[in-house]
C-alpha cells in the first residue's frame, strides 16, 4: 500500500453503525426533559401572573362574589351533600360493608 492509501485507510476507520438507537434515544430524552422544564417554567409564570392578577382584583371580586355567595350557598350546599352521598355510596369499601 502506498502512503496515500494507508492514510486513506486510517481516515476511513471508525465508521461505526449509521444508526445508534441508544444514543438517539438519550438525546431525545434530554430534549423531552428540556421541553418539560420549559413548559413547567411557563406554567409557573402564568400561575404567578394569574395569582397577582387575582390579588389585585380582590376588592372588586369580593364586592361581586360576596352577595352571590350568600344567595347561592344553600344550593351549593345541597349539591355538595348530594355529590358526597353519591361518591360514598359507590365506594367499593362501603359496598363491602353493606354486604
Amino acid at each position: 500500500m502506498t502512503a496515500e492509501q494507508r492514510l486513506e485507510a486510517f481516515l476511513q476507520e471508525g465508521r461505526g453503525p449509521e444508526q445508534d438507537p441508544v444514543f438517539a434515544a438519550e438525546v431525545m430524552r434530554q430534549v423531552a426533559r428540556r421541553e418539560l422544564k420549559a413548559q413547567l417554567a411557563a406554567s409557573a409564570v402564568l400561575a404567578t401572573a394569574a395569582a397577582v392578577g387575582l390579588w389585585a382584583c380582590a376588592p372588586i371580586l369580593n364586592a361581586v362574589i360576596e352577595p352571590m355567595a350568600l344567595m347561592l350557598s344553600p344550593v351549593v350546599g345541597m349539591l355538595t351533600l348530594t355529590a358526597a352521598v353519591v361518591l360514598i355510596s359507590q365506594n367499593p369499601a362501603w359496598l363491602r360493608l353493606r354486604l
Binding site: 485507510a9 486510517f10 476511513q12 471508525g14 465508521r15 444514543f23 438517539a24 438519550e26 434530554q30 428540556r34
Partner: protein
Amino acid sequence: MEAPLVRAARAGSQAAFGRLVERHQQGLRRFLRRAAGAEADDVAQEAFVTAWANLNRLRDDEGFRPWLYGIAWRRALTLNRSAARSARRDHDWTQERDGKGAGLAAEDRMALEAAMATLAPDQRAAVTLCLADGWSHGEAADALGLPLGTIKSHVARGRDKLLSVLGDKP
C-alpha cells in the same frame, strides 16, 4: 434536503428532530472523537440539545450540518469535564475501530494517531472534516468559524504531516 425537517423541528416536532439526530449522530461523534478526543459522546449530546433549543437562530435551514458541528466544536474546545460513561463508550469505539481496521498495520495506525495528536485542534478538525468525512472547504469553514484560506492551509499542511510519518514523501 433537510430544510423541511429543520422547519418541522423548529415548529416543535420532536419526531423531526429525532430524524435529524439519527442522520447526523454518527458523523458528529466520529468527528468529535477524532478532532476533540475523549467525551465525544457527551459533547455530541449536548450539541444536539443546544441545537434543539436554538433552532430559531439557524439562518439557513439547509446549513444544519455545519451549524450543528460548529456548536459541537465550540463546546469541545471549551468543555473539560470528566465522564467515565463517555470514556467507556470511547474505549468501546476504539476497540471496535481497531478490530475493523484490518487493512492498516498497527505501527502505521499508531504513527498516524500520534501525528494527529500533534496537530493543532483547528487543524485536526479541518483534516477530519475535509479528508476523512469529505466536506468541502467552505462547509468546514462555516462549521469551524475559520476563514476559507485557513481551512485550505490546515488541510494541506495536515495531510503533508500525516503522510510524512508514513515514511513516504507526500
